[in-house]
């Protein structure tokens, strides 16, 4: 890949459940790269690990029982830094016969280390927008005040009045009408779509290298959703910002991302150029991606009023990870020829075409990878 901005390598983010005496393997060996200027979309159902991947990159996995391994490299200002550097030293795992017996974590040390690593990165190099913008904004402070604060903290504009001008400029950029009036508004007086715009303005005003957008349209009305998607598409062409976009909504990913990663049960099961992976005529596709696309009501399904092709079974819980393919239990394309493999051996993420990788025994290329 040319000029990566963010490279995630073999990331594992586990959360220890005391009650179950086991790890919830939210992210279980994920490797992904985001090139400068591109948008990588991660799609998956709840529990697939897509959000935790993003949170790990933003250094927000600080919760007591969280354990991270692997590396997340951020390339900026000509330097490379591993955002997870040395973190694993703060957690010790005692295992017996492959089962976790105990986890000891020096939480204060971990948090301190994490803060050191993220200093000057989170908010500045990596900015985030979330689902439910209203709760992400400070309710006691006006939109303008919050923006000015971000700008003075993260950019070279330190003066009050120039920061204010820049803030208004950003409110304009995200198409908030009458930005000078809105500047003095509190979040509660604004609609959900408006809050999301303010949130986006705030994230971008720090002029970050990477924008992480975690479910930016979820929970908004459909009319507002399409406006926010439009806005993100526009800002992408205007600013060329590198984006890691997380969504369960495949249509949002399809519209906004250059490349896509489909996650299931904590792993990436398919990745490639969005146009290629989601092309209607695609011949090589992971059974899960296919099933996911089929469970959305298509124009054809609606016209014929036919049944939806549901994926049987439940989303994999990542405590008891099967030995074979994680999707095996729900897969409807297992053939006799590969059944043994599917049940007993996790398939590798193999390249089936340049830049297109699929984790499935169906595709012979995966055998060689």
């Amino acid at each position: 890949m040319d000029a990566p901005l963010l490279a995630i390598e073999n990331l594992r983010t586990y959360f220890y459940s005391r009650a179950k005496r086991a790890f919830i393997r939210s992210v279980d060996g994920v490797s992904l790269g985001v090139a400068r200027g591109e948008t990588l979309g991660i799609v998956g159902e709840s529990g697939s690990g897509k959000s935790v991947t993003a949170l790990s990159a933003a250094g927000l996995v600080s919760a007591g029982p969280g354990v991270i391994s692997g590396r997340i490299d951020l390339y900026s200002n000509g330097a490379r830094r591993n955002l997870l550097d040395g973190l694993e030293n703060y957690a010790r795992i005692t295992e017996r016969d492959g089962r976790v017996m105990e986890v000891e974590k020096d939480e204060r040390g971990w948090r301190k280390r994490s803060e050191t690593l993220m200093a000057g990165v989170r908010g500045k190099e990596i900015a985030m927008i979330f689902q439910n913008p209203r709760s992400a904004l400070n309710p006691y402070s006006t939109i303008g005040k919050q923006l000015v604060e971000t700008i003075r903290l993260h950019t070279s504009l330190k003066g009050e009045s120039e920061a204010k001008e820049r803030a208004i400029h950003w409110l304009e950029r995200v198409r908030i009408d009458s930005p000078r009036l809105r500047f003095d508004n509190f979040p509660f007086g604004m609609s959900g779509g408006m809050c999301q715009r303010a949130m986006i303005a705030m994230a971008l005003s720090a002029e970050p290298s990477l924008l992480i957008a975690d479910e930016p349209t979820t929970g908004l009305d459909v009319t507002i959703q399409s406006r926010i998607v439009d806005l993100l598409a526009q800002l992408k062409t205007e600013t060329g910002i590198t984006t890691l976009l997380i969504s369960h909504d495949i249509s949002v990913i399809q519209r906004l991302s250059d490349r896509i990663a489909v996650m299931y049960g904590g792993t990436v099961v398919e990745t490639g150029r969005t146009a290629e992976v989601l092309a209607p005529e695609a011949r090589v596709r992971h059974p899960y991606t296919t099933a996911l696309l089929a469970s959305i009501p298509s124009a054809e399904t609606i016209r014929r009023k036919s049944y939806l092709q549901a994926i049987e079974g439940e989303v994999l819980d990542t405590i008891e990870v099967p030995r074979g393919c994680r999707f095996y239990g729900r897969c409807n394309r297992v053939t006799e020829a590969i059944r043994e493999n599917c049940a007993g051996l996790e398939p590798p993420l193999g390249e089936v075409a340049p830049g297109h990788k699929v984790r499935c025994w169906l595709y012979p290329a995966t055998g060689k990878a």
Partner: protein, 298 residues
């Protein structure tokens, strides 16, 4: 033609909100008309979809039909009986749990589980089983698929359709998920700020909408789904930036058509006076085949 099982006539529900010291002292609050004169009916074994943005009053209608909320005025007739001022009895509650679980395709072994031990899809199915336990004929399904994963959502939609076929159920299907509504409903009613602005057969609502709002609802869905990867984003945005969306401002009294401030047609037609004339709020009128629209220009 099946017989009518539920008839709602001129239903109104107002909430009053008090803000600030002065309104508290004078006892005057502002009145929010959550549902503002809604009429519709459901025939047995049919599904009517109710769509609209949040705050349009669709949930309030569901709650009023179930008599969880008292209407301010209007009439609700269920199975020929006026239930506006009474609560319908639950009927005989026969406990048929095993049969029910089978109907919603849950395993027997789940009987001893606590809700927290079930997955989202299973919880939703238990919810459906609980509803079925009273052998209802009409089910108000308020956002039955929201917050579920796509694959699980498909299971629940299929289940609801099976149950309708097997048990002859009637659904009032309230949802913001337009494709799902279009899939399961025979008829769809589109609500905007407390009123039905268009109602008709599902395929007509989705593909030949007569009200500009309905058109916008469905086209925003299409915009989001656009498959052309290299589409020129700019053209579209410029075109759509003309319609300024805002939130409805309850402080400003509605005069004329309540959609006019957001209406592209209103702007295209050069702001005709009839749209903002307080004396002529557009009423639902039949444009053929039982399709009704509340727009001066439909």
């Amino acid at each position: 033609m099946n017989r009518t099982i539920l008839e709602v006539t001129d239903l109104r529900k107002e909430y009053s909100q008090r803000r600030g010291l002065i309104s508290m002292l004078t006892g005057q609050g502002r009145v929010i008309p959550a549902v503002d004169g809604v009429s519709f009916y459901l025939r047995e074994n049919e599904t009517v979809g109710l769509v609209g943005e949040s705050g349009c009053g669709k949930t309030t209608i569901g709650r009023t039909v179930l008599r969880l909320t008292d209407p301010s005025s209007g009439r609700v007739v269920f199975d020929g009986r006026d239930i506006t001022n009474e609560r319908p009895s639950d009927g005989e509650i026969a406990i048929r749990i095993r049969e029910l679980l089978e109907q919603v395709s849950l395993k027997d072994s789940k009987l001893a589980n606590f809700p927290s031990e079930l997955s989202g899809g299973e919880k939703r199915r238990v919810g459906i089983a609980r509803v079925l336990a009273v052998r209802p004929r009409l089910i108000v399904a308020d956002e039955p698929t929201s917050a579920l994963d796509i694959s699980i959502q498909a299971q629940v939609v299929n289940l609801l359709r099976d149950l309708q076929k097997d048990l002859g159920l009637t659904y009032l299907f309230i949802s913001h998920d337009l494709p799902v509504v279009e899939l399961v409903s025979q008829k769809v009613a589109v609500m905007y700020l407390g009123r039905i602005v268009e109602m008709g057969l599902a395929e007509n609502i989705a593909h030949q909408p007569r009200h500009p709002y309905t058109g916008i609802l469905w086209s925003s869905l299409a915009d989001k789904q656009t498959t052309e990867v290299n589409r020129r984003v700019d053209d579209v945005t410029v075109e759509r930036e003309r319609r300024t969306w805002g939130v409805f401002d309850f402080e400003q009294p509605v005069s004329g058509c309540r959609f006019a401030p957001r209406c592209p047609l209103y702007k295209d037609k050069g702001s005709p006076a009839v749209c903002t004339d307080p004396a002529s709020e557009p009423q639902l009128r039949d444009v053929g085949h039982g399709h009704v629209v509340a727009c001066h220009f439909a």
